[in-house]
């Protein structure tokens, strides 16, 4: 390990999270991670709902309606809808950057903004459906 230390340049460190200001793409990137983690944590809930939705037993169908009718579950589902949409849009942005599309500074800003706006707008559209507005 001592040899590694000698080889590694001592770089200045600045890790004050409250003072660091990121470009929008930085926040979009962190939200990609947060949304992924959220979906991972809620995976059992989603599989359980899938199971109930496909069940032929009438009591399970009733259970599905009961659970998805709960306001707290609906708020979690709304969060998961946003998480999926943000992860999806940001994933497309990452794939585009992989093929060198949107690498320039201004383009990168624009696509990060598009990811944020599109995922929030679609969340609103699906959210209104979730809460039975239409």
């Amino acid at each position: 390990m001592s040899e590694v230390k000698k080889l590694t340049k001592q770089r200045p460190k600045f890790l004050d999270l409250t003072a660091i200001r990121l470009p929008l793409s930085g926040y979009a990137s962190i939200l990609h991670r947060v949304s992924g983690a959220g979906m991972f944590l809620m995976l059992p809930l989603l599989i359980w709902l899938l199971e109930l939705s496909l069940s032929t037993a009438p009591e399970q169908a009733g259970q599905f309606a009961q659970i998805t009718g709960n306001i707290f579950v609906r708020i979690i589902l709304l969060g998961l809808i946003w998480a999926f949409l943000h992860h999806f849009c940001m994933g497309l942005r990452i794939l585009l950057i992989d093929v060198h599309v949107g690498v320039e500074k201004q383009q990168s800003r624009t696509t990060a903004m598009v990811v944020m706006v599109v995922s929030l707008a679609l969340t609103a559209a699906f959210g209104l459906k979730l809460f039975g507005v239409y």
């Binding site: 040899e3 590694v4 080889l7 991670r33 992924g36 983690a37 979906m39 991972f40 995976l43 059992p44 599989i47 899938l50 199971e51 939705s53 496909l54 032929t56 169908a61 999926f84 999806f88 994933g91 497309l92 794939l95 992989d98």
Partner: protein, 114 residues
């Protein structure tokens, strides 16, 4: 001499796997969304008929396996970035694997017994 060999050489493989599984899942999501627009969730029976179709079971299986691998790479990276004590990190890796393998088995069983 003096060069420290680090890493397990899974970087490129995982980078590629993350992209392939992402594309598969994105296509699946669009297919399911279009199917819902076409009315496969109009009734419980229609939903079961759709999900029990052979082709849908096939792509659902690919989706579940893709999700399991994709989530493994992603969650493992989170632990590697933030959890410094090796013992805690390894424990979280194992726990993540167990949860993902269990969830994948559970989901496959739901789709496959239809």
């Amino acid at each position: 001499m003096g060069r420290m060999v680090v890493g397990a050489h899974y970087g490129l493989k995982d980078w590629l796997a993350q992209r392939i599984t992402a594309v598969l899942m994105a296509i699946y999501a669009v297919v399911i969304f279009v199917a819902i627009l076409c009315g496969v969730t109009s009734s419980a029976q229609a939903w079961r008929d759709f999900m029990s179709h052979g082709a849908v079971q096939f792509i659902s299986l690919l989706f579940i396996l893709s999700l399991g691998y994709h989530a493994w790479v992603g969650v493992r990276d989170i632990w590697m970035d933030y959890i410094k004590p090796t013992s805690v990190r390894i424990m979280l890796h194992v726990l993540t694997l167990l949860v993902l393998v269990g969830c994948a088995g559970w989901a496959i069983q739901i789709i496959w017994r239809l």
